[in-house]
């Protein structure tokens, strides 16, 4: 566990550098999708979630689901950094038959809670886990991270109603609101409406934070649960954190060239956490 926001910010910088290196080496796009939630993921994994990396399936652990599976490079980088698996494995990202495919697979990496890659399922599966944990009077929390584009899916809103109806106080849903989805801008597609308002109207406690203001993220996590007897949502407004990739749908797909890699590492002032083979 890391408590100071400054240390977490440094960690996030290294994780960003790691993701860009992985995307470059693995020749995989979806870099924006991995970079935008990095600060939120770092805050979760280094100061909120109770998961033991060496024994990740302990019964009383918190459950974490990355519902936006295409953004998995950041999850893998953090898991490796925390010791869920050796850091060298990161250089096998997106390699056929390896444990770190470009959409997380429970069969390849059993320390995950579920496979993802098909959007709109994580929250629903999370509600089932939360229901089961409530039945056992477990204190474990269920945390699901999804994208803003993913909130186009109707199943998200079925899950939102279910979670409120069953008073899932231990359920936390984070939306990585990076504003960009596969072929457009999420605000345009969702009609410029507030996700925070939507979750509130579904009976949730909800808040919006700057997804790169570590103090603000920690403060929001510290207030969880936001409303007694209700599930909580954090809408984190995010960017990629690399200047030349900001606000550009192209970087949803583009694989970073070696020049892109060097430029972004220089800008971040950070190096990947794993040793890379030249």
């Amino acid at each position: 566990m890391i408590a100071s926001a400054k240390q977490l910010e440094e960690r996030a910088c290294s994780i960003r550098a790691t993701c860009i290196q992985m995307a470059h080496d693995g020749k995989e796009g979806h870099l924006c999708s991995a970079l935008s939630p990095v600060d939120v993921l770092v805050a979760l994994f280094y100061s909120f979630l109770n998961i033991e990396p060496k024994t990740p399936k302990q019964e009383n652990r918190d459950r974490f689901i990355l519902s936006k599976g295409h953004g998995c490079a950041s999850l893998y980088a953090i898991m490796a950094d925390q010791g869920f698996f050796p850091k060298e494995k990161l250089s096998e990202y997106n390699r056929a038959g390896a444990m770190l495919p470009n959409h997380p697979c429970l069969h390849a990496l059993p320390s995950l809670e579920m496979s993802s890659g098909s959007l709109g399922h994580g929250l629903g599966v999370g509600t089932g886990m939360a229901y089961g944990l409530q039945l056992r009077n477990s204190g474990a929390r269920v945390v699901v991270l999804a994208g803003d584009g993913e909130c186009n899916e109707g199943s998200i809103w079925e899950s939102a109603a279910f979670a409120a109806a069953h008073r899932m106080e231990k359920l936390l849903f984070l939306v990585d609101y990076n504003g960009i989805q596969a072929v457009g801008r999420s605000d345009e597609i969702m009609g410029f409406t507030s996700l925070e308002d939507k979750f509130r109207s579904f009976g949730w406690g909800a808040t919006t934070v700057d997804g790169h203001d570590m103090e603000a993220i920690l403060a929001a996590l510290g207030r969880f649960p936001f409303k007694p007897g209700s599930p909580s949502a954090i809408i984190a407004k995010t960017r990629t954190g690399v200047s030349f990739m900001e606000n550009d749908v192209l970087w949803h797909y583009r694989k970073p060239s070696v020049e892109d890699l060097q430029r972004s590492l220089t800008e971040l002032g950070a190096q990947p956490i794993h040793r890379t083979t030249p």
């Binding site: 496979s115 098909s118 399922h121 509600t127 089932g128 886990m129 089961g132 109707g154």
Partner: protein, 306 residues
């Protein structure tokens, strides 16, 4: 079958604390006993099948044995992606129950027709697909499904199907011998077995005695029984209340072509079309030639000496 299902569910919930039942807002008064005895293990997920299936997957990941229930057309086609991705991909022990499978709800129109339920569920790798023929089979097969470690689909009909006697007990994965015969064999699935039994009753007076096997398990297909039958009979008649693609007929045809087996094969069942006009099931049997009369007539034709 639905009453047998509800009663069996109660008995199983008593024995197994992991059993948890989710309904897509269906089964008015059918599950009152379950609700009374196991309130926290009864979840009405609302008219939200996708959510119901995802929640069942989450419960299964937490070690529970979820049983999800809705009308067959809404239980299979609608949340197909959730069953495929959240349940089948992870090979989770979720029992998906489709009430009113096939054309049970023929009079309610295309929205309620589930001629594709068996096909959709059979498409999924690792899925066990079962269509019992009467309340007794429904009870015994549900008990067996809750003991397997992967996902399954159970098609149940409506209320008050007649029970039937058979030579063998229902065993998951095995074709059930209903009665012995000679030159031809009738293979049924779901409640078409009762139509076949009525046909066989008629034929007995004419000295026509087909074998009758109930293929309550469509997947995995009991190819052992098919191998034996292929050596014994001249013709096989398959009777199913399902569309031609992906049902028992299609599975047996695929097996025959793969094994170069030669008995003559006739499939009786609804055709590849949307059934318009909300006909009764008896009207469907006549219109599409697959009820008792059609089975009897086909047996006569195939039994006639050339």
């Amino acid at each position: 079958m639905r009453r047998a299902f509800a009663n069996t569910l109660c008995a199983l919930a008593e024995q197994d604390q992991r059993l948890i039942f989710l309904t897509g807002d269906l089964g008015f008064q059918v599950f009152d006993e379950f609700i009374k005895r196991f309130p926290s293990r009864y979840i009405n997920a609302g008219i939200a099948e996708a959510q119901m299936v995802c929640a069942a997957a989450g419960l299964a990941l937490e070690g529970y044995r979820p049983v999800v229930y809705s009308i067959a057309s809404f239980m299979t086609a609608r949340p197909f992606e959730q069953i495929r991705f959240c349940v089948a991909y992870s090979h989770l022990p979720v029992v998906v129950v489709g009430a009113g499978g096939g054309f049970t709800y023929s009079v309610s129109g295309v929205s309620h027709h589930a001629g594709d339920d068996l096909a959709l569920m059979s498409l999924l790798p690792g899925m066990t697909v079962v269509a019992p023929g009467d309340p007794h089979e429904a009870e015994l097969l549900l008990k067996q499904l809750l003991r397997i470690d992967g996902p399954s689909y159970l098609r149940i009909g409506k209320f008050g199907e007649p029970t039937f006697q058979a030579e063998a007990p229902p065993v998951l994965g095995q074709a059930r011998l209903v009665c012995r015969g000679d030159r031809i064999a009738v293979l049924t699935t779901g409640d078409m077995v009762t139509e076949a039994l009525r046909a066989l009753e008629e034929l007995r007076a004419e000295n026509i005695t087909p074998w009758l096997y109930q293929f309550h398990t469509i997947k995995p297909l009991d190819t052992g029984t098919l191998d034996l039958l292929a050596k014994q009979v001249e013709a096989v008649i398959i009777v199913e209340d399902a569309l031609p693609a992906g049902g028992l007929g299609a599975a047996v045809t695929t097996w025959m072509s793969a094994t170069l087996s030669h008995p003559r094969l006739v499939r009786l069942g609804p055709p590849d079309e949307f059934v318009l006009g909300n006909p009764t099931r008896d009207t469907m049997f006549l219109r599409y030639h697959y009820g008792c009369a059609a089975i009897a007539e086909t047996c006569r034709r195939l039994s006639a000496k050339p």
